[in-house]
Symmetry: C2
Subunit: 357 residues, 2 copies
């Protein structure tokens, strides 16, 4: 059933039917009702491709999905997607994923732009050497960034969380608790969020008069394996009098590995070591789901997804103008993995001896 058939059936012009269906005012209520009822009854739905061609609007938002050997979509993405999807539903837009390997990303954006398959895109996982912003701008694709480039002055719209503030506050808490030897198991510092977090740590240490050279900083993809590996490296062979007593961790998955290392080394939280983890609020892995409940910096990545969708739709429709830069504060939620730094005396040595066996 297409428009023409319906129009013949109703003995009305295609124009009138189109207008009735799309809520234009220049059609009488009586005919509108008649049309609506007939469309419903015959299950008429406009062909989306024809409509897209005629209007130039695609009714969907796009994302270039990184794929390939070295790229793993991680669970962060699925949570983000959930939020996005929820809002997309409300706004009746679809989400179109264009897979592309990292090296051919630019090509994917070119294709998107030329083919008009989506109305706008969102960018995420912003990198230090971010190319995409100027690219999509050049291509004239409306966009919204999740996260931001290192130099935020460039004047584009984004949504980000206050990574710098979050890790500043977390670090300050550790410092106030008397920790003076800190380790930071960070995400990949090719991404700006990791750089911002490091900046936050450094700012807090500097403000506290602690030389930043004392920070043990490691950068790697946020997963269990790396958490375990780096925690083992940091704690296995290290003199208990000099090893870190406070750890900052970039994600729940990283912490999963760190905790495994701690268990293996018989280090106890928070007696031997305190840890603060960033929590993106996964429904499938919660900070309460650890034997010692995790102290976290918390920000729902799902909520960010919903908001991104909302704003991107607004940007596309022109409701949101200019380069709105939205930065969400991050909660610091104190649970059980943070405590006073262990005393340097007998106790620490005792534990160390135990761990060595």
């Amino acid at each position: 059933m297409n428009l023409k058939q319906l129009s013949e059936l109703l003995e009305l012009s295609q124009t009138t039917i189109s207008r009735a269906l799309n809520g234009y005012p220049e059609v009488s209520e009586r005919t509108r009702l008649k049309v609506l009822e007939a469309a419903q009854r015959h299950g008429y739905k406009p062909n989306s491709n024809a409509r897209k061609l005629a209007t130039g609007r695609a009714g969907s938002i796009g994302y270039v999905l990184p794929v390939g050997r070295n790229v793993d979509l991680d669970p962060h993405f699925v949570e983000f997607l959930s939020g996005l999807g929820e809002h997309a539903l409300a706004r009746e837009v679809d989400l179109s994923l264009t897979p592309a390997p990292y090296e051919r990303e630019a090509e994917a954006y070119h294709r998107i732009a030329a083919s008009r398959s989506v109305d706008g895109v969102y960018l995420s996982s912003m990198r230090n050497d971010e190319q995409r912003i100027s690219l999509v701008r050049k291509l004239g694709i409306p966009f919204l960034a999740h996260g931001r480039a290192l130099i935020p002055a460039e004047g584009y719209a984004f949504l980000d969380i206050d990574n710098e503030g979050a890790f500043h506050d977390a670090t300050r808490l550790l410092l106030h608790l008397g920790h003076t030897r800190l380790a930071f198991i960070n995400g990949d510092t090719d991404f700006t969020f990791a750089v911002h977090r490091l900046n936050g740590v450094i700012r807090a240490m500097t403000a506290h008069g602690l030389p930043i050279e004392t920070l043990q900083h490691h950068s790697a993809a946020m997963n269990e394996e790396n958490g375990y590996r780096l925690a083992m490296a940091l704690f296995r062979d290290t003199d208990p009098a000099t090893r870190p007593t406070g750890v900052l961790s970039a994600s729940m998955f990283t912490t999963l590995g760190i905790v495994r290392a701690f268990n293996q080394l018989r280090l106890r939280m928070p007696d031997d070591v305190s840890i603060i983890t960033h929590d993106d609020v996964f429904p499938f892995l919660k900070p309460e789901s650890f034997t010692v409940q995790l102290t976290t910096t918390r920000s729902s990545i799902r909520a960010a997804g919903a908001r991104i969708c909302e704003r991107l739709v607004d940007i596309i429709s022109g409701v949101e103008a200019g380069a709105v830069q939205e930065i969400w504060p991050v909660d610091l939620v104190v649970r059980a993995t943070t405590g006073p730094a262990p005393a340097e005396g007998k106790r620490a040595r005792g534990r160390a001896a135990e761990a060595a066996e």
Copy 2:
């Protein structure tokens, strides 16, 4: 730059250019090269909506994304998506996600069918009371199911793993190791995969002459929390002489929780309890990433995603005909969490006393 402009530029008809670009034979090599070069140089890409309208093909595959309060996309989905994306790239198709709450799922498929926005869909998370197969068939949307309904005789194409065989084999291993009190922390038995798995467990027990009433079976969404909760319920207050010694777990996330419970209860793997987990091969959470490396039934959900995409594209293009039903075998990978059932004597009691303190 559109086709008309390009044709004027080259002083060729739109027909010729279209054919040159789409690789039709009735165009001379010389003109084809000329056209290709000019298209490249001016960055011409056909408008995808116009092409879709003209051909009736959408160049994308669809998925109805479940959203809403009670629905969480879980990490399984993101891995599946990675695989799908990889193959989608190779075949140059996009992936279109239509969000819909569970109650309005049917409506979403109707919209997809009427609007012709995708060429085919895949269905996943098949339920016992599966409605979608007959629906999409009625609507005439080409489809491929990931998983299968309870009665597989209905004659539709699917890809599934041998859940029944996997859990049969896992159970048989436990039985051969002397375990006689088994627990199965299953996924939600509203889904068929969980039913198939339960069938596998039952078949193995029956074959071994163990009454199935002795199986402690629990069904819940596969996450850390439920794993922990159910393991605590199973093991906390139970007489060590009667509590389970062998556990089957539906996912890595479930096992994360089970292991937490075991740690808390001071139960040791495999001395006090053996456990076999289904592993979907997540790059971010591996069976080796447990203090005691997990024995697993293994099947890559990512590979399934890639294969689904491949076959769906074939189905759409007519290369794959008929109702091909593909079932993948599942590996049983023995690592360190499986061992002989503990003897009923002194040792088990000793441990129990310890756990009780």
